[in-house]
């Protein structure tokens, strides 16, 4: 019997809380599969609707925290969230079924779309439609940039770091890895912990 949820350090508090309903591996897979099959236009709202509102496997505070972890790690939000939630519910196996579940529908669909596109991609009406689709996708990404900037950029230096990143990749052709290291370290050092935070952590 594994008891991934109960850490000895938490100890006394855990025994006071009534045992949480244990989520089965099958349920985790099915829930993430459904999210993977229905989340048109962005996964995050569907994750919240399913995991927080419908299933109540995690609460809103945990959801927001997991999302912020997902965003600062490499990897897509959707798959990082699957790993974090799966791990919380059922450890390593939970993570694996969650990520497979959320990826499977889209992967099968794009496999089929890819084959169709290879055969019919040069038909005039397909080319015309794809020209419109690609232009619309550019608009969609720009709206994500605006949304994220409003939410998480503070002060003019953050805009400087954002601009430096764009210049390094698109103008100087430094490549994404070098840009990430150089500008990333500059930005992290700029946001370095203040003395007070360090003292708080030490206490």
């Amino acid at each position: 019997m594994s008891d991934a949820g109960a850490k000895p350090a938490v100890g006394t508090a855990a025994s006071a809380v009534p045992d949480e309903v244990r989520v089965s591996i099958g349920q985790i897979f099915l829930e993430f599969f459904i999210i993977g099959a229905t989340s048109f236009g962005g996964v995050v709202p569907y994750l919240r609707g399913s995991l927080v509102t419908k299933r109540q496997w995690i609460d809103d505070k945990e959801f927001v925290e997991m999302l912020s972890i997902s965003q600062s790690l490499p990897g897509l939000n959707a798959t990082n969230m699957a790993i974090l939630v799966g791990e919380k519910l059922r450890g390593a196996l939970g993570s694996i079924v969650a990520i497979v579940g959320i990826c499977l529908p889209g992967a099968v669909l794009m496999y089929v779309v890819g084959m169709f596109y290879r055969i019919h991609g040069d038909h005039v009406w397909v080319t015309a439609a794809l020209k419109g689709v690609a232009a619309a996708a550019v608009g969609l990404i720009l709206s994500t940039v605006v949304g994220l900037s409003e939410k998480s950029l503070e002060g003019k230096f953050d805009f400087v770091f954002m601009a430096l990143t764009v210049i390094a990749v698109n103008r100087l052709h430094l490549g994404v890895p070098r840009t990430l290291v150089v500008v990333g370290i500059l930005a992290i050092l700029f946001h370095r912990p203040s003395k007070k935070q360090k003292e708080d952590a030490a206490s």
């Binding site: 990897g75 974090l84 015309a128 689709v133 232009a135 550019v138 990404i141 990749v169 700029f190």
Partner: protein, 176 residues
């Protein structure tokens, strides 16, 4: 020729570049899949990425199509594992030690510092893509239209991308 080792190498490498989202790896993906390995052309990459925005689930599933073209079914599978495996493992490790990191003061610094850089990478990926996708007044109008609609109204973005297809057929079909 067996492309699977190359597919694994390229997509495992791209995997760790996806800070803040899949688009962050797009400039590098263009160089490696189009210029270096010639698995597909730049317009094809843009088309697959854009069509992928209409599919449900994580928004980089278009990589499956690249894997399938270059290496068949096994190629598709290899690409999936290479692209999602490394970051999944990292997320798993972080999930395990997150409680300990909670009091580490640099945690907030990393989150705050990476936010502008990841948005910059997203924008850089967007510009790379725009160079291939925006080619005249009509395509620019579609992009700006989608941007303005999304900023003002709550619409499902997948529907707007589909709308782009309809406008595309209407505007770019050669008249016979």
């Amino acid at each position: 020729m067996n492309q699977i080792p190359a597919l694994v190498r390229v997509f495992a490498y791209l995997s760790i570049l996806t800070v803040g989202g899949g688009m962050a790896a797009f400039p590098e993906m263009k160089v490696l899949t189009v210029d270096v390995h010639k698995w597909l052309t730049f317009p094809q990459l843009i088309h697959l990425y854009s069509v992928g925005q209409m599919a449900p689930g994580p928004n980089m599933m278009m990589i499956v199509a690249i894997g399938q073209w270059a290496g068949g079914f096994l190629g598709a599978l290899a690409v999936l594992i290479a692209f999602f495996g490394p970051t999944a493992l990292l997320a798993f490790i972080v999930a395990r030690m997150w409680k300990k990191l909670e009091k580490w003061p640099w945690r907030t610094s990393i989150q705050e510092g990476l936010a502008p850089v990841s948005i910059g990478l997203l924008l850089a990926g967007c510009f790379t893509m725009a160079r291939g996708a925006i080619s005249g007044v009509e395509t620019a109008a579609i992009a700006v239209g989608v941007l303005l609609i999304l900023l003002r109204y709550k619409v499902n973005p997948a529907l707007l991308v589909l709308g782009g297809a309809v406008i595309g057929v209407i505007s770019f079909m050669p008249s016979r």
